[in-house]
């Protein structure tokens, strides 16, 4: 269980070990890592800044996590989201889910990503190789992805 909002990078193995190292009841661990891409809509990107709403971010991520734990039998979950200045290739977000069975772990990880994309108060500003920095519009496909869990 856990939610962290930080500027620092994270290490996949260390986070997974801290979360479930030594446990023998877990059968399936899914991790999702989101990273900064070097292009957006065909334009090269040299940097990205992530602004967030301190306090609300943590509260929303905790609500999203609690939702997932109500829907699936999860033995452990973790969400880490970075903010501040990032470069192409840098990690942005980590989601980890652990369950006795793989389908629950997969579905819960997808759910967490879909929901945090539409609920967690983060805003991306991209710096293109040429031209001015600009705020990234929310993606309609992210809204659609979150909608599918509402059935």
């Amino acid at each position: 269980m856990g939610v962290r909002v930080q500027t620092a990078d994270f290490d996949l193995s260390r986070e997974v070990k801290q979360l479930i190292g030594g446990r023998t009841d877990v059968g399936a661990i899914v991790t999702f890592t989101g990273t900064v891409r070097d292009e957006a809509k065909g334009q090269p990107i040299t940097a990205m800044a992530l602004e967030h709403y301190p306090g609300m971010t943590e509260a929303e991520l905790e609500r999203v996590e609690a939702d997932a734990r109500q829907r699936w039998p999860l033995q452990a979950t973790l969400i880490i989201h970075r903010y501040g200045e990032l470069k192409p290739g840098d990690n942005i977000v980590l989601v980890v889910t652990a369950s006795a069975h793989r389908q629950a772990a997969f579905e819960a990880a997808e759910f967490l990503m879909d929901y945090l994309k539409t609920r967690a108060p983060f805003w991306k500003k991209e710096t293109p190789a040429e031209g001015e920095s600009h705020w990234v519009d929310a993606r309609e496909s992210d809204d659609a992805a979150a909608e599918r869990w509402k059935s």
Partner: protein
């Protein structure tokens, strides 16, 4: 007194990250608060030029534009979120 927060391009257009205001008695919903802010100056008018794409939160929870602002300690305005 109510703390009003602005994020991302809403913050840039308003020209400040936060301010503390005494809301008049006839401002009872988020929509009415937006209208009242817009009347305060052109920077607000620009930030809320397309009010349908500005999102709001009261006391760190997402709310609709029709939500009541009664008892709110902190009201935030921001664009649709784009994290993850």
């Amino acid at each position: 007194m109510t703390k009003i927060l602005y994020f991302a391009w809403v913050r840039e257009k308003v020209g400040k990250a936060e301010e503390t205001l005494a809301l008049p008695a006839n401002v009872t919903t988020v929509a009415e608060l937006v209208a009242w802010l817009v009347a305060r100056g052109p920077e607000y008018a620009e930030a809320f030029a397309k009010p349908e794409i500005v999102r709001a939160a009261i006391d760190k929870s997402h709310v609709k534009i029709s939500a009541s602002v009664r008892g709110a300690r902190e009201i935030a305005f921001f664009p649709p979120v784009s994290g993850g």
